[in-house]
Amino acid sequence: MTRPAKETPSTDIQVAICGSAGEGTIAAGDILRSALAEAGYRIISFDTYPPEIRGFGKCIARLRVTTEQAYSLKQQSDVLIALNDEHAIPHIGEVRDFGAVIYDGHSIAKLPEGGHVSGHLRAGQLPYPVSLRELCEKATGGNRSRNIVALGFLAGVYQLPKDAFLRIITKKFGKKPGVAEQNQAAFETGYTVGEAAFRLDDVVFGAPKRDAATRDVVMINGNAATVRGAVDAGIDCFFGYPITPATSIMERLASEMPKHGKRLLQTEDEISAIAATIGAGYTGARAATATSGPGLSLMQEMLGLGVIAEVPSVVFVSQRGGPSTGMPTKTEQSDLSAAVHGGHGDAQKIVIAPTNVEGCYRCGGKAFEMAEAYQTPVVVLLDLYLSNRYETVQFGARPPFEANCSKPRAKAAPGEPYRRFALTEDFVSPRALPGEPGAMHTITGLEHNELGRPNDQGDMHERMSKKRHEKLKAALKHPDFTHCKRFGDEGRIKVGMLAWGSTFGECLEAMFKARAEGIPCAAMKVVMLSPFPVEPVSAFMDDCDVVLVPEVNYEGQFARLIQGELGRPVVSLARVPGVPLPVDEILETIRRLAASGPRDAARLVRAA
């Protein structure tokens, strides 16, 4: 066991809080990250919890506190707060050497032998037994604020800015009379005890960065950032049906949209949600719905109608463990195939997937531009990890979205029927909206001619199929949008990673570590998944001895997509742990591939 190098001036600390559902674990994590974000730190934070609201399921709140931008959570935590012995014991292992474990020295219930955290500490991990319940009862007369006492203790030990915590506590509990005061008292008590505690560990919080770059920084999760993007892009109508983990998109829009004079309706199911979205899109409104995998399955037929009738719509899909009801509160990236290839017929649509919370904002707004410009459904793929993960994000002063991307309409020739599906050079037809005189027309899910009238002749189906596919190619050059981007080493590299969605953060962290070990390495994020950016991805692959595709699904859906689009081999690292891919596992695979060389790698590909 070697003591880690003396701390750098920059902060990089991960705190995990582990408890049972109903013990305020997630609430404590929320207060901690909010207070530290307000103090000026950068945050990445992700909570895991069981599908049941109460009961005794395990909840973990994890947050990584840094002064520089981080891209994922760390493999190891520096501090663990154990609110519940049974649930925390399996997680003691994630605390690094010389890290701290804060736990209740006097458990609530009489625990069986070996049931207490203290019996499971590893040599080198430094214990802080605190009488959480006793302190809480003394401070508040009850034991419901044990979580806040623990937070206070943490803040006291590490001398975190007390005012920020008290402000956040007031904000969070201010609406309930007496509760804010009770929690403030609990916090103060914990803080006093923490301050006086004898420091054993080497966890050091450096000073937060309080410069111009961090001034307008907001702490926000993926779903909230998506909503902000949608609102900034001028969303007019939203139709939705609750489903984990997409529900908070609808909830937030339900409170935001009416403030802007916009309308939201909770529909009877996902089919009607997408149907109404497409109905609203037909009138020219910027309309959206949000769902998860099961809802996406229900929406597929209607999305096909959106494709053939060329109606703009936006569908936010936050993926979770599948198939069927699967694992509603666990993350997964297994709806890629359904989003890109789902539905019957040749029904290509636009599919984009942000890789971080800021990306959720951009995709949340840009999706409306693309839907309008290319007259098609746009699916924005999030996942539970991205939807629920908090990051500190800096927003610009002005929204980077265009208010109108519709193709200008040529005047209808008087007496002539309106050619809604006129074949044009760029395959996008001018679109008249209901209410405009002289341009009446009917759109349909039947194959049709330029007038929109049913037509099932082979040559017409050829022409119209081509129109619907070719027009999407322009989306690959959609202005002010990052379709894909390379990070890391330039030029020839040993191992290149192609990644999409939330997993890209872990890939970046793994890449930085690999480069630090001297492995020439790069990673490319692919944000636009349909139509596929064949050229830049192909150019990237030209530079790589071997291409690794890490993702959180069993089938290697992204790897298959790449192989299908490019016909080139990749190594797939596809796993379904229900949580983000461990950075160390990606790193280990990089090391293995780098050591094996291109020829062996090719063998590995075949083996995979």
Binding site: G261, A273, T283, G284, G435, R453
Partner: protein
């Protein structure tokens, strides 16, 4: 001589139709229905009703699902959306929520509305969205060549129930009344003038209006809901029927042996748009809403 009179009569009639403005609502596409189909009554009734209400073709959207009756949008010169099987009401809901200024008419058959789309009817009705739903009930799937539908009679023989239909037919009128529709009427395609008048009233009603239209399928139903048999069974509502009396409307709707024609029930309550506007006011967005609506107009 008789022929000459006939000619003059036809020319006068044609002149009358031309001058009425109804033709403005007619599409150049010709209906694809079988000769004698009950749906021709809608092709005449909807344009006439819109014309007499002074609703311009460009301010009208006719939405439909899938089925014979759902081909209707192609045959009118308004905006139209021929959607998916069973999804006419949610699409119509989206259109109306996005643009209050449009007159939205949803059209469909019994299979579209009460089999595959049955889950949407209660919600359109309870929300009281200001659209008109014209449901053409022929008790059969005509477009797929005559299979059993949810309003087919017990004992009805079709290719999907060759040993006769074992299932109790639904009573759509009772259902929509229970769901909270604020205008419920019934008409017979064999009485086009009454149908036209009821379509007019249904469109004029502010809220969710449901018009149930008994409409024979002359090609696939030779035994049950034929013109002859329906003509014998349909009756007018009693002269003293009070359409504001919900219980009386339910009693009338229960009579499937001698179906009553006319306006069964009408009631005024806030529409979905009223409710959504109320939410905007509560949230403090009324000013922004007014600006948006003014800009759209």
């Amino acid at each position: 001589m008789a022929e000459a009179h006939q000619q003059i009569y036809l020319e006068d009639k044609l002149k009358e139709v031309r001058e009425s403005g109804r033709l403005e609502y007619r599409s150049k596409a010709l209906p694809t229905w079988c000769p004698g189909c009950g749906y021709f009554a809608m092709a005449g009734g909807v344009p006439a009703a819109l014309n007499s209400l002074g609703i311009a073709p460009q301010d009208t959207v006719v939405v439909s699902g899938i089925g014979c009756s759902s081909r209707f949008p192609f045959f009118v010169n308004t905006y139209g959306f021929h959607t998916l099987h069973g999804r006419v009401l949610p699409v119509a809901t989206g259109i109306k929520v996005a643009n209050d200024a449009l007159t939205v008419i949803a059209v469909g058959g019994d299979g579209d509305g009460f089999a595959i789309g049955g889950g949407h009817v209660p919600h359109a009705a309870r929300r009281n969205i200001d659209i008109t739903y014209l449901l053409f009930d022929n008790g059969i799937y005509g477009l797929t060549k005559g299979q059993t539908s949810p309003t087919s009679a017990i004992g009805f023989r079709t290719p999907t129930s060759p040993y006769t239909n074992p299932d109790q037919p639904l009573n759509p009128l009772l259902m929509v009344l229970a769901y909270g529709a604020t205008w419920v009427g019934q008409a017979f395609a064999g009485h086009p003038q009454q149908l036209e008048e009821l379509i007019r009233q249904a469109i004029a009603h502010r809220g969710f209006s449901y018009l149930h239209i008994l409409s024979p399928c002359v090609t696939f139903d030779k035994t049950d809901k034929t013109y002859d048999r329906l003509e014998q069974r349909v009756r007018s509502l009693p002269a003293n029927h009070d359409p504001q009396d919900f219980a009386a409307a339910m009693r009338q709707a229960m009579d499937v042996e001698t179906p009553p024609m006319g306006l069964l029930y009408v009631n005024e309550r806030p529409t979905l748009a009223d409710a959504l506007d109320g939410i905007v006011v509560k949230a403090g967005g009324a000013e922004k809403r007014a600006r948006k609506v003014a800009k759209a107009a």
